[in-house]
């Protein structure tokens, strides 16, 4: 079924049109009343409430900026009460490479000696940190004890625990015009190494699994995380039974891990 889409001006960008054009059987812009509303940017919490009240089949949140976890909890409860699924277009957690391997990674994560996630990107470090927390929640599960040692306009650095495993989160705002995120799980005998590029383009993430038999590059998928998020939106809109990889409740839980004031820095 082809769903009609309304793009909020804050997310109405050529690359979004390009993505929708690659899913012509699922979405169409301006096709009658909106089945799906896409919104995001700095003002997304204020815009989400009326969007939910319009009772679309689904909402896609993109370019999610940090805000108060209480606000997000309230919005999540409202979305639940109205039965409107909200899909969050977060750059690494919804990447097809992540969703394909998340269960296997999660199964081995707690045997790791350390878990590291690093990002070099042109976006604000607070947004990078939030996206990293989403990636960790999707692949590792709950992390605790987040300690922020740096978060400013240039970089961020934090540590946490996944059970007893140390987790390092770091990133820099890079002026090189490229985006890169790495997730590394170093185990005693096995390792996972995931490497992501720009979520707006279809350059595939690479997933290396290493054990005593060698190193295996898992099949690459030339689909951007952004396109995957739209696919998840269609699934959510057509069947409320399948939760998206990363939900508003997840976002609220991640925001609660870090002081809101720090994320606004």
């Amino acid at each position: 079924m082809t769903l009609s889409v309304h793009l909020d001006p804050a997310v109405d960008a050529p690359h979004v049109h390009g993505t929708l054009a690659s899913l012509p059987q699922l979405f169409r812009l301006g096709l009658g009343p909106a089945d799906v509303i896409a919104l995001g940017g700095p003002d997304w919490p204020r815009q989400l409430e009326p969007a939910l009240d319009a009772r679309p089949r689904a909402v896609l949140l993109t370019d999610v900026r940090p805000t108060s976890p209480d606000v997000v909890h309230r919005l999540a409860a409202r979305a639940d009460s109205l039965a409107v699924p909200v899909v969050i277009d977060t750059p690494w957690a919804v990447d097809p490479a992540t969703t394909a391997e998340a269960a296997r990674i999660k199964a081995t994560a707690h045997n790791s000696a350390t878990i590291e996630v690093f990002t070099a990107t042109g976006t604000a470090p607070a947004s990078s940190l939030l996206a990293q927390l989403a990636l960790l929640r999707t692949t590792i599960g709950e992390i605790t004890g987040v300690r922020l040692s740096r978060l400013d306009t240039h970089a961020h650095a934090a540590t946490a625990r996944a059970g007893s495993v140390p987790v390092l989160l770091s990133g820099v705002r890079s002026a090189l015009g490229t985006t890169e995120t790495r997730l590394v799980l170093r185990g005693a005998g096995e390792q996972w190494r995931l490497r992501y590029g720009d979520p707006r383009i279809a350059r595939p993430a690479t997933v290396l699994y290493i054990d005593e038999h060698g190193e295996r590059l898992l099949p690459t998928v030339y689909e951007s995380a952004h396109r995957a998020a739209w696919r998840h939106t269609h699934i959510a809109a057509m069947s409320g039974a399948t939760p998206p990889p990363y939900t508003l409740h997840d976002l609220a839980a991640d925001l609660a891990l870090v002081p809101t004031e720090a994320l606004r820095a």
């Binding site: 000696a113 350390t114 040692s149 970089a155 650095a157 770091s170 390792q191 290493i210």
Partner: protein, 349 residues
């Protein structure tokens, strides 16, 4: 008559046997092994025999050997300072001290003072600081040391035996240190300090180049079965992550990366022991990417060639004595702070 420079080794343990002997043999047009000293007479004799060299159990005897032109101090850390000083005072042409330079900053300052007094050049075996790809990148990285924002050093290694057996056939392997009870906070602090001075130290002179002053160690964690994860920052907020892990996984990683305002440096080093050539270095800006290496010589070979040039007066030291002391000061300061941070984290957990 052998016209190459004669090298005398004080200490003939695994590093001498597996790293220095094969590397020196590959530089036989410049250097040869003249004398091997070890407190264990069997080890001294067996290792010396491999190179057709004299052997002894006394550093004094080695220093009195006129065929020894340059001295390599490869003994346990506690002996480095006295033996380096004695080698310089013996009038040798150059001295290589394996890392760490000494165990304390006053000891390192004493070696530097003697080197100045005697005019005998001293070099620390921090092999990555001599890696040809690192040096090639350094010649082009511009203001990256001033504009660095984040530094990341990651060392992931299998057990040493995986490489040692490919580099040599060891005559003997000293017994490892006794297992410590890591439930004791003091033992944990000592363990992380030891891992910083034992493994992280390979890259610490590089870290100091981009983060010269430590304001604080923010976090420190011991990794199992061996390793560390340490984060620190400098007075201007620049941060560094140091990760070192030795497990059973075969895949090595020895990377050093720096992100600055307009450039990024990536170094991918080869493992120690095996003669696998230099690192590959990449310098990236928004407009270009430049690669350096791999070159045939790794940092060990490059440091020996530099030592030969110093001994013959063909070069001046690449790193001044003040730099060598500052490198040690940085390493011991970091090790102590990491130990303290780990204890504090344990107390607050």
């Amino acid at each position: 008559m052998n016209t190459t420079l004669g090298v005398g080794f004080i200490g003939a343990g695994p590093v001498t046997q597996a790293i220095h002997l094969p590397h020196l043999a590959g530089l036989s047009d410049r250097l040869h092994i003249a004398h091997v000293m070890d407190v264990d007479p069997d080890t001294a004799a067996a290792v010396a025999a491999r190179a057709g060299a004299r052997h002894s159990t006394s550093a004094d005897e080695l220093l009195a050997d006129e065929n020894v032109d340059v001295v390599a101090v490869c003994s346990p850390h506690a002996f480095h300072a006295d033996q380096a000083e004695a080698a310089a005072r013996a009038g040798k042409k150059a001295v290589l001290v394996e890392k760490p330079f000494a165990t304390t900053v006053p000891e390192a300052e004493r070696i530097a003072k003697v080197s100045r007094e005697t005019g005998v050049p001293v070099l620390v075996g921090a092999m990555h600081t001599y890696d040809p790809a690192y040096l090639a990148a350094a010649a082009h990285w511009g203001d990256l040391p001033e504009t660095a924002r984040h530094i990341r050093s990651a060392i992931q290694l299998p057990p040493n035996s995986r490489y040692v057996t490919l580099a040599t056939q060891l005559h003997s392997l000293p017994a490892g240190p006794p297992r410590r009870d890591l439930s004791d906070p003091a033992a944990r602090a000592a363990a992380i300090s030891g891992s910083v001075l034992g493994l992280a130290i390979h890259n610490l002179p590089l870290v100091r180049r981009f983060l010269p002053y430590i304001e604080a160690v923010d976090t420190a964690a011991l990794l199992t079965p061996f390793g560390y994860a340490v984060t620190l920052h400098g007075p201007d907020g620049r941060t560094a992550e140091l990760i070192g892990h030795m497990g059973t996984a075969w895949r090595p990683e020895w990377t050093f990366e720096v992100w600055g305002e307009t450039a990024q440096l990536h170094l991918d080093f080869t493992p120690s022991y095996v003669r696998a050539g230099s690192a590959r270095a990449t310098l990236r800006t928004a407009h270009e990417e430049r690669g350096f290496g791999p070159f045939p010589h790794n940092g060990y070979e490059a440091e020996w060639l530099h030592l030969a040039d110093l001994a013959t007066g063909a070069a001046t030291p690449r790193y001044g004595l003040d730099d060598l002391v500052a490198d040690l000061s940085f390493a011991t300061d970091l090790a102590a702070r990491a130990g303290t941070a780990l204890q504090q984290e344990g107390a607050s957990a």
